[in-house]
């Protein structure tokens, strides 16, 4: 399980600025993702999360550095890395089945139409859309559209699932159900996932590891938080777990202040961007000295 599937090595993204100099969104970014791992990335708006995801997807190229998938540097988009887009990006002229079947047919070019449709239907019912196969996206609610997007990505049975704030446009109730479904499906298939989110609770519920990114420009990965909650957590039970508030506070603390002041925090200390600290926030036992307990 600890075999590295993805290895981001020293990537940087720079854009030419109007005054001639370049703006660096981020640089010297290193990150490894193991097979079967669910990794969430959290950071403030504009720090370059979408850029990282697009580079992983192959839709964007880094200005420097490489991304290695399964011992091969990526050169462009590929079917083994499926993307769930923030705005669902369904083709409005195709039905639900047509949208999913388009992806299936692109992957399995030799399959017959019946085979493609059968495979597509399997994933449509997996996301709970059985009965809506022949509807057009315009006839679906926002949550249903996002489900189709999820079904389309899952139907490719990719090595890696990439999600850019997949639930941010949904209402809280729908978001909850979809999180449950994605979690169930990814756990049962051992899916490797990289997901961007703004929602701390979503990250705690779904992720094995949470990557914290500092504010841009010159954003960097500050630390990787290991989720101390057990893998078989349940949505409406997690807040009762002893470590829940420890992680939650740690993450919120980072977003509120440390993401901004992180550069001062590490100033003067040795810093190795290849091996950022792996942190596992746990509840501090009551016997611990006073200053340590303040945060928990």
């Amino acid at each position: 399980m600890t075999e590295k599937l993805i290895s981001i090595e020293a990537i940087a993204k720079r854009y030419p600025a109007p005054n001639g100099v370049q703006t660096t969104v981020f640089e010297n970014l290193w990150l490894g993702i193991n097979r079967g791992e669910f990794v969430c990335m959290i950071g403030h708006s504009g720090c370059g999360k979408t850029t990282v995801l697009n580079i992983l997807a192959g839709l964007d190229a880094p200005s420097e550095g490489v991304v290695i998938v399964d011992n091969q540097a990526i050169e462009g988009p590929a079917l083994d890395r499926a993307v769930i887009f923030q705005g669902h990006a369904l083709f409005p002229w195709r039905t639900v089945l047509g949208n999913v079947a388009y992806a299936v047919g692109s992957k399995h070019k030799k399959w017959s139409k019946a085979q493609v449709n059968e495979h597509a239907e399997k994933f449509i019912s997996l996301v709970g859309l059985k009965g809506a196969e022949y509807k057009k996206p315009s006839e679906l609610s926002g949550g249903m559209k996002q489900r189709v997007g999820i079904a389309r990505a899952l139907s490719l049975e990719p090595k890696m699932l990439l999600m850019d704030e997949p639930f941010s446009a949904l209402d809280a109730l729908t978001r909850g159900t979809l999180q449950d479904e994605v979690r169930r499906i990814c756990l049962s298939t051992g899916q490797t996932v990289f997901m961007i989110t703004h929602d701390v609770d979503e990250a705690i519920y779904l992720a094995d590891k949470i990557v914290l990114m500092t504010n841009g420009p010159h954003a960097q990965i500050a630390e990787i938080v290991e989720n101390p909650l057990p893998k078989d957590r349940e949505r409406n039970q997690i807040h009762k777990h002893t470590d829940y508030y420890a992680v939650r506070n740690h993450l919120i603390d980072f977003l509120v202040s440390r993401s901004r002041t992180f550069k001062d925090e590490i100033a003067g200390k040795p810093w190795d961007p290849m091996n950022v600290p792996l942190v596992r926030p746990v509840a501090i036992p009551p016997s611990a000295p006073e200053p340590m307990r303040k945060r928990a």
């Binding site: 997807a57 192959g58 462009g76 990006a89 083709f91 692109s106």
Partner: protein, 247 residues
């Protein structure tokens, strides 16, 4: 609601009929009056016809137009030589010309529009030509066409082609260039080839814009055929509209 809607469409219909009636009556009264009979050279009077010499209005009255119209409509397919054919035959010629010119325009504009919309290089390279050729008036094309092509029918087709190609070309290029990036990214992550992408993603996404261009173009083609046939002559629906007076 339904009753209200019906009464509104009924009243609108009645109003339309009333307006038509007023128009016809005004037309009839205006053209039936006898103006002052002019004294003129008999040669000139012959040229001017009965209208001028007997004080009748130069404009035919509604009854006259109706009678001629009826005569043409009841016998649309007669053929008395090259300059006297039935309305149906002439209409068929005009439609065939519009159809030919328009079809050629579609065949050129849509692939070319795709190319311009998909490639920034082509777009930049072809832009000056489009900007120069597009504003040229149909009237300006006609002598050129007649002079180089000689055949009047082909000239008409060419003028229709050249005038209806631009809206389609520009709309296609615009529609193709503004296909949502997300959809193209979906196609890219699915490793869809360029050819399949053009047909399964770009074409359906740009279809509404392309159709708008095609609609504008067919309108222009109909406007242009009248002008084109007036100048280049030949078997036309136009010759009917202007020949009532001299017959």
């Amino acid at each position: 609601m339904a009753i209200n809607a019906m009464s509104i469409s009924f009243r609108a219909g009645a109003l339309s009929v009333l307006i038509l009636a007023i128009f016809l009556v005004t037309w009839h009264i205006a053209t039936s009056g006898t103006g002052a009979v002019q004294q003129m050279d008999p040669e000139y009077a012959k040229l001017m016809g009965l209208n001028a010499t007997q004080g009748k209005s130069a404009m035919p009255g509604p009854l006259q137009v109706g009678a001629t119209l009826w005569q043409h409509l009841t016998n649309p397919f007669y053929d008395n030589g090259p300059n006297d054919k039935g309305l149906g035959i002439q209409l068929a010629y005009s439609i065939a010309r519009v159809g030919m010119g328009y079809l050629l325009a579609v065949m050129v504009a849509i692939p070319l529009g795709f190319l311009i919309g998909m490639s920034q290089l082509m777009s930049r390279a072809l832009d000056p030509f489009i900007q120069v050729l597009k504003p040229i008036s149909p009237l300006a094309w006609m002598p050129l066409a007649l002079y180089t092509i000689k055949d009047s029918g082909l000239s008409a087709i060419f003028v229709i082609f050249i005038c209806s190609v631009w809206p389609m070309l520009i709309n296609t290029a615009f529609g193709v260039a503004s296909v949502r990036k997300e959809w193209l990214n979906v196609a890219r992550t699915l490793e869809v080839g360029a050819f399949k992408r053009a047909f399964t993603v770009i074409l359906p996404a740009a279809a509404p814009t392309i159709l708008t261009g095609m609609r504008i173009s067919i309108g222009i083609a109909w406007l242009v055929i009248v002008a084109a046939e007036m100048i280049v002559g030949g078997t036309t629906s136009r010759s009917r509209t202007s020949s009532t007076r001299s017959s």
